[in-house]
Subunit: 276 residues, 2 copies
């Protein structure tokens, strides 16, 4: 690479670091790429840290020692988190989202990359202290959100399938009862998907009674994982008693009134604790 001026090098470093959240970059490798001394690069890092802090978007963590380096960790300020969730609540309140049967159409938003990137970074912000090794979800609609959460953490996503697939090798199956419709369903995960003993954070788009989340938690344990947290984008207020405890819902759906054409959905307050 040609030798860059300082301001260009800072732009290039910002792009590389923020492109791979959680990935540890060695200053030595940067030093080679950019033909700059490590001390110079350390100053660049101070600059980037400052810029990210001003945006309220993330941290730059320095890991000391020979195997150390620097990594970008998405971390939202309370104001930024609130702004994202408020906007989502407004979008989801549009009456044209009501589907016959009192369901809420969310699919379009769930497949918008920029939006799901922000939600994933909010989950990273709220769940960072749990230090998960894997994000887990179940097909289909929750995948983009769970995937962007995995990206924000810099860890892999494992996706449970409904029924097992021949192209994924040996797998573990469990039966579970969906809490709302009381149907028995099957969910499976390839045996090789999770390293035994690792920490699993479950992410899904929607929770009513919590039967699907309960099934995922059981399946994760079945393949040797340890569930450290559960996050959902939207949880319904009813039933109050869910089949799981200690989940975090970013939005709460209070009511979908088909006759009155109103949707009552409310964002989490940034300081709120987990639902129990």
């Amino acid at each position: 690479m040609e030798k860059l001026r300082r301001v260009e090098r800072v732009a290039a470093l910002t792009k590389l670091l923020t492109d791979m959240p959680g990935h540890l970059f060695s200053l030595g490798a940067f030093s080679q790429t950019f033909g700059a001394a490590k001390s110079t690069l350390s100053e660049d890092m101070v600059t980037i840290r400052q810029a990210l802090a001003e945006l309220g978007m993330g941290l730059l963590e320095t890991v000391p020692g020979a195997a150390g380096g620097v990594r970008y960790l998405p971390n939202y300020s309370k104001e930024r988190m609130q702004a994202v969730l408020d906007e989502l609540a407004v979008k989801l309140s549009a009456p044209e989202r009501i589907i016959p049967g009192g369901f809420l159409y969310m699919t379009d938003l769930l497949f918008q990359a920029d939006r799901m990137a922000r939600v994933g970074e909010i989950f990273r912000t709220r769940f960072a202290h749990l230090q998960p090794d894997y994000i887990m979800t179940v097909e289909t609609k929750g995948i983009p959100l769970a995937f962007m959460t995995a990206r924000a953490f810099g860890i892999p996503l494992v996706t449970a399938r409904r029924g097992s697939k021949v192209t994924e090798g040996s797998s573990v199956n469990i039966n579970y009862v969906t809490g709302s419709s009381k149907r028995i369903q099957t969910m499976s995960l390839p045996r090789r998907a999770i390293e035994p003993g690792s920490k699993v954070l479950i992410i899904d788009d929607f929770m009513k009674a919590g039967g699907t989340a309960r099934g995922m938690a059981d399946l994760a344990q079945e393949v040797g994982g340890r569930v450290v947290g559960i996050g959902v984008l939207v949880a319904t207020i009813e039933p109050e008693e869910k089949l799981i405890e200690n989940y975090l819902a970013l939005l709460t759906l209070h009511a979908v009134e088909q006759q009155k054409k109103t949707i009552d959905i409310r964002p989490l307050q940034p300081d709120a604790a987990l639902a129990e």
Copy 2:
């Protein structure tokens, strides 16, 4: 926001621009956020453009006029593209990926966010001239890849489901025959997923005979879309005659030898045209 020094402002601008590929930012809005003159910001853009070019990762496009602004477009240099595909081919050649029946285990790689981000940006680079309005895929394993392609373009993803779902409202169903196993399957898409007349780029993880891609193309047309291209991560060399034409495969699977425990998979050469 506090007034930043130039180098901090460039870092912040790099983060904001590259976080939302394809999104048009107005210099006026940046001017307010950062308390800097538009002429100053234009100089910042020259710097960021230079840095991205040096990395071989993307372009910064300036759109003139009152409704104009600046946007980041992921665009890989040939060297970068080749490096990503070569690495993927090596990873996919590991003998432990062979699954009884001669299948290839790809799921772990398909759910790695950083890797799929790069593949999505390669699809953006190769398909930018088609100017699609939507990316389309079918559940499940292709979703992260298609989602990251949608992200690289800054456009929405629509995902066909196998069978129709009550929570997505009125939908269009088609039956299709999988080319390899000759089974009849159903695929559906919500009617409201695609604006009539819009351009659709189909992205999937794997293609054998092309029956699924053919089904997606038919379904896209059924809801009023126009298919402008098809991209797959891996296509098998056999059967040579696929059920669709003019697709782009980033990797070609020549053989999986269960006895010899070898996998022959080859990356696309960057200048190669579409398969016909």
